[in-house]
Symmetry: C2
Subunit: 160 residues, 2 copies
């Protein structure tokens, strides 16, 4: 059997994760585009997915998304330009900056969270609620394992 | 509860997939680097993960990896430069080219496949063999659902 055919029939964890991630991003950003957010691109998810209504520090966004702090800085520049976030002084540390969502940013965050809940609910209906809950539980364990064994950290760069 | 904290405690499918993918890439390319493949980067996985020993067409690699054909072309240029693949005429279609792994490429493919098998075996031991098999089964169903409902196709671009 050809290697590509074997990988099609018995996909490894990397193939399954990348298909899921890119497929989910494509669907999410298509729906967001229909809901008034046509200028956002999947890469902006590294900031928008983790942003707090109260504002977040760039270092926390880097750790949460697994992207370099430098990548986060570039994405924040783009999001400021597009009107989704603002840089404000951090009340807890006057030398630091907080990245705070604008009203447009908060709208995107709420819509994005709602689309993801809806997409996951559709998966759960299709594969069975219990099977989906078990899947999420094991998936979380695997992510935690990777993190503890040093397989994920903030220096992880995405594919370019 | 802060949004970021909620996402930490109850990560959605996008967060779980991206952490798994980037963590796995980081670990895989670290190990490959220790085994003589230090110049490869995670982005090259879009080609090397799907390449056949017999050679593959760029269009097939694009479909399998979910990357634009243009992205695949750039990656192949880099991999030719690094000595992992060669462009050869396709015996089945004289106007077409096949991307064929060199000996160095075949070495990387074998080592990469072996590392992934090992990483997955470690996950299975940690979460339980049956739980891991169930996890993979449901994961495959979800990927197939996304593909059928148009949530994944070859025009999906990765985060930059």
């Amino acid at each position: 059997m050809r290697r590509s055919q074997r990988k099609q029939e018995e996909p490894d964890l990397g193939i399954l994760s990348s298909r899921t991630l890119f497929g989910l991003q494509r669907e999410l950003f298509k729906r967001l585009s229909e809901q008034g957010h046509s200028q956002l691109r999947p890469r902006h998810g590294a900031v928008m997915a983790y942003l707090d209504e109260e504002g977040s520090r760039a270092t926390d966004l880097a750790a949460q998304s697994g992207q370099h702090k430098q990548v986060i800085g570039t994405l924040v520049d783009e999001l400021v330009e597009l009107g989704y976030v603002e840089r404000q002084p951090d009340p807890a540390d006057r030398r630091a900056k907080l990245i705070v969502p604008t009203e447009k940013g908060r709208d995107q965050m709420a819509k994005s969270d709602a689309v993801l809940v809806e997409m996951e609910a559709a998966h759960a209906r299709a594969v069975g609620e219990q099977a989906y809950a078990d899947f999420k539980r094991v998936f979380k364990l695997i992510v935690e394992r990777q993190t503890t064994t040093g397989q994920t950290d903030s220096s992880t760069a995405p594919p370019k």
